[in-house]
Structure formats: C-alpha cells, structure tokens
C-alpha cells in the first residue's frame, strides 16, 4: 500500500519534470512549440466536449479516438485472423516454417508507410487500404508467438494425444489450443500495440477522420497545439490498451 502510494507520487514527479522540460523548450528553444498552458487553452474544447461533432475533422477528441479505435480494432482482428492460423501452421509443420521463415523475416520490418501505397493500389479506397496496412504490419508478433507456442507444447501432452488416439479436432481443442493460448495472447498484445502505432501513419496518408487524420490536418492548418493534444491522446489510449491486454494475458496464464 505504502509502496504503491510512493510509486504513484514518483510517477507524478516524473510527469511534472517532463511538462517542465516541455515548458522550457517552448519558452527558450522553439517559438513554434506551444507551451503546456497554451496547449491546454486551445485543446480544452476538444477535451471537455469529447463527443461533440462540429465538422468532418473538427470533432471532440473522444470521437476522434473512437474512430481510430474502431479502425484499429478492424485491422487488428483482420491481422490476427490471418496471423493466428498462420502461426499454428508454421509451428506444426517444420516444412512450412522452413519454407516461410525467410519471407516473414523480410516482410516483418517493412514500415506501414511502405505498405499503405500498395494497399491503395490493391483496394483503390482509403479505408480498406488502411485496414490492410494495419493488419499486415501488426500480424507478425501473433504469427511468431503462436508458432513458438505450438513448438513449446510439452512432448508429454503430444504422447498422451497419440496414446489416446485423439482425432485431429480433439488434438486441436484439447491439446494444441489450450497450451498455445497464453503464447498467442502475448502475440495479440504486441500486435495490438503495433496496430495502434500504425493507425496514425495510415490515417495521415489517407486523410480519414481519426486521431491521426486530425493531427495531420491541424499541422497543415498550423494549429500546433492540437498536434500535442493528439500525441498525448495516442499515448494514453495506447497505454490503456496495453494494460487491458496485459490484464487478460495474466488471467490466461494463471487459469
């Protein structure tokens, strides 16, 4: 109890220090960087009326974040829908994993900024292109963790499955899935983190409403304080998502 109180106080000190640095930077270094106070003044409306819709982009930060979250959720689900089965296959088959390992290693580090134009070429519309980009960038941790999960199934359980002559379906539901699920979920958490990273890039390039789209528009309209508002929102939402996933992950590990 004392400890968590202390930790909380310490993190408050950290936040204050960073805000102080920010204030100093805007005062002495970059005149274009809005001070914390100015940022708050100009962002107040968006924060205090988070669900207000004034125009296509001019909306409360809650609404903008919700658009982005929905987009991320779709792209992320698409990604794990392909990623998890792919990971299961690669984990179960030496042949397939040898075949595809180099491909994955090459595709994995590609930036969303590179995928998005390809998505636009393939789908001709910004929304599917954005989902494609989120999915393909975020699926790799799920693929790789699921693959490791399958490989880590104890030989004991495999022997039991053999001795009991379990059907492929029962092997899948009683042995493979339960032992891989915690690994898979670690993959999901990392994938969601990446999906959230990618959202900004894909909204910027496609100009769709959302936190990233708003950020880019406000940059073009020279309202720099809103850039900071968006950055902070992205950080807070990303952090919350990660905490939530970590919570579920822990539940799975102890279950």
């Amino acid at each position: 109890m004392m400890n968590s109180l202390r930790n909380f106080a310490l993190s408050l000190v950290g936040i204050t220090l960073v805000i102080g640095l920010w204030a100093m930077a805007s005062a002495f270094w970059s005149a274009d960087l809005p001070s914390p106070m100015k940022t708050w003044e100009e962002s107040k409306l968006y924060i205090m009326q988070p669900l207000e819709k004034r125009g296509e982009m001019d909306q409360g930060i809650g609404l903008l974040a919700a658009y982005s979250l929905v987009r991320v959720a779709k792209g992320f689900l698409l990604g794990i829908l392909f990623g998890a089965p792919l990971g299961l296959l690669l984990g179960a088959s030496q042949l397939l994993s040898k075949m595809f390992d180099p491909v994955i290693q090459v595709l994995r580090p590609i930036s969303p900024l590179a995928w998005l134009p390809l998505g636009l070429v393939l789908f001709r519309q910004s929304e599917p292109a954005a989902l494609f980009t989120i999915a393909i960038c975020s699926m790799w941790p799920t693929v790789i963790n699921t693959m490791h999960g399958v490989r880590a199934i104890p030989q004991d359980y495999i022997n039991v499955a053999k001795v009991l002559r379990l059907s492929p379906w029962k092997r899948f539901t009683k042995v493979l899935l339960p032992s891989t699920l915690p690994y898979m979920f670690t993959g999901f958490r990392l994938s969601l983190g990446i999906a959230w990273l990618v959202i900004v890039a894909s909204e910027m390039l496609t100009g769709t409403p959302g936190v990233g789209g708003f950020l880019w528009q406000e940059y073009n309209s020279l309202i720099y304080s809103h850039i900071l508002l968006c950055i902070l929102t992205i950080g807070v939402v990303g952090f919350t998502l990660d905490r939530m996933m970590a919570f579920v992950e822990n539940k799975l590990r102890t279950a």
Binding site: N159, K162, V163, L164, L166, V175, S179
Partner: protein
Amino acid sequence: MRPLEITSLTKTFYTPTGPQTVVRDFNTKIQPGEIVALLGHSGCGKSTVLSIIAGLQDATAGGVVIDGREIDGPGLERAMVFQSPSLLPSLTALDNVLLAVDQAHPKNRRKQNRERAQKYLRLVGIEEYGSQRPAELSQGTQQRVAIARAFAMEPRFLLLDEPFGALDSITRCELQDLLVDLCAAKPRTVILVTHDVDEALLLSDRIILMTDGPEARVGREIDVALPRPRSRTAVMDTPAYFAMRNEILEFLESHSKQFQH
C-alpha cells in the same frame, strides 16, 4: 488369446555423434493376464522398449506382435501411464479420465462413460478432486488421476513407465497397494517399468532383467512365485522373497559398470 510377442527388438538412435544402438535383440513373450516387471539400470533402455510397445516409437528392427499382427502405432487396447502424470492441463481431473474413456469406448452413452470415469477416480481414492485442474493437485494426486485414466480405459494391456518414480515413499506405497488391488479386481496384462527391486517383487509375476546399454537385451527372467494376494509385510517374511531379491541385486551389480573390475 495369444501372448504379446517381442521379437528381435532393436532400436538405434541416429544422433549427431553417430548411431547409438540402445536395445539389440530383445526377445520375450508376455502371456495374457501376466504382470511383468522390466527392471534395469537407469538409461539401459526400459522406456525405449515400453514406448515401442506403446507404439510411440518405431523399432529399427524386429517388432511387437499382438494377436498375430505387428503393431504400427498406438492403439486403444494399450493404455499407458507415463513417468510424469502428463494430464492435459486445461481439463479437470474427471475430464482427463473421461476423455480417455470416451476414446476407448466411443459407442457407450456419455452418461455411462461419465459414471465409469467417476468410478475409477473413486477407486484411486480422489473422487472429491474430480472438478479440479491438474495444476491445483499435488504430484501424488495427479499420478493417481493418470492411473485412473489408464485403468478406466479397461485396456487389455497396461504399460506403466515408472509410474511411482517421482513420488514420496508413503504415496508410492499407497499407489503400489492400489495397483495390486486393481489388478486383483480385474486381471489384465501389465508391463511395469521400474528400477525398484521391491516394487517389482511386490507387483509382478515375472521380472525381466535387462543388461546394461548400449545394446541392452534380456539378461535374465525370474518367475516371482509368491502367493497372491500379496501384502507388503507378508511378502517380506518369506525366504523366497530374499532369495529372489539377492539374485536380482547380484545380477544388477554384476551388470553395473561401476562394480565391474
């Protein structure tokens, strides 16, 4: 019913350091209803022989014949208890047993199989833990579930790989007694791997002593002509028990590398 025949069983592992023939020309016949103990030094190849009988590994040469047919993989007429409990962690104790019963008797009604699974949990003395997951149970209790799982299949052959090896001595005695009871209640063919001489003498009709590996084979077979039902204390009072015990220990010593001069 015909005996289970193991003929010229040879197993070679191809390791990075070259081929390793662990077992060579292993021969024996096991009669229906017989309880056979497979005894030998650690690493001589007991588990290898047993897992070939279970169909988990292929023989390099020779093989195992049941009812005149060479086995080529696991079969539900052969149930196995592994050295570690090996329960599926996502299923409760009862569901672990039930899964095995359902596999062995798919035509039975679900209720019937469920009752049988419960009955065997009761027989191993842990009916009240049926709804618990393996992680919540002690090693000894988990091993009881594993034994219940194998017995509940009511298989023709029970393959037991040091089933009590990892347990404390009190639990081990309890489970040995339980095995005696279960085998007495319904005779079936049992192959028990162990390196505990007293356990082999208490439980088996015949002891197969394996020579040391590599290239282990059957070194000697001893008929354990002790009357049944056997109790731990009564058995130890017979002169025959000590004669056999000495014979086994002498064999093991003379085949142990440490004691060879």
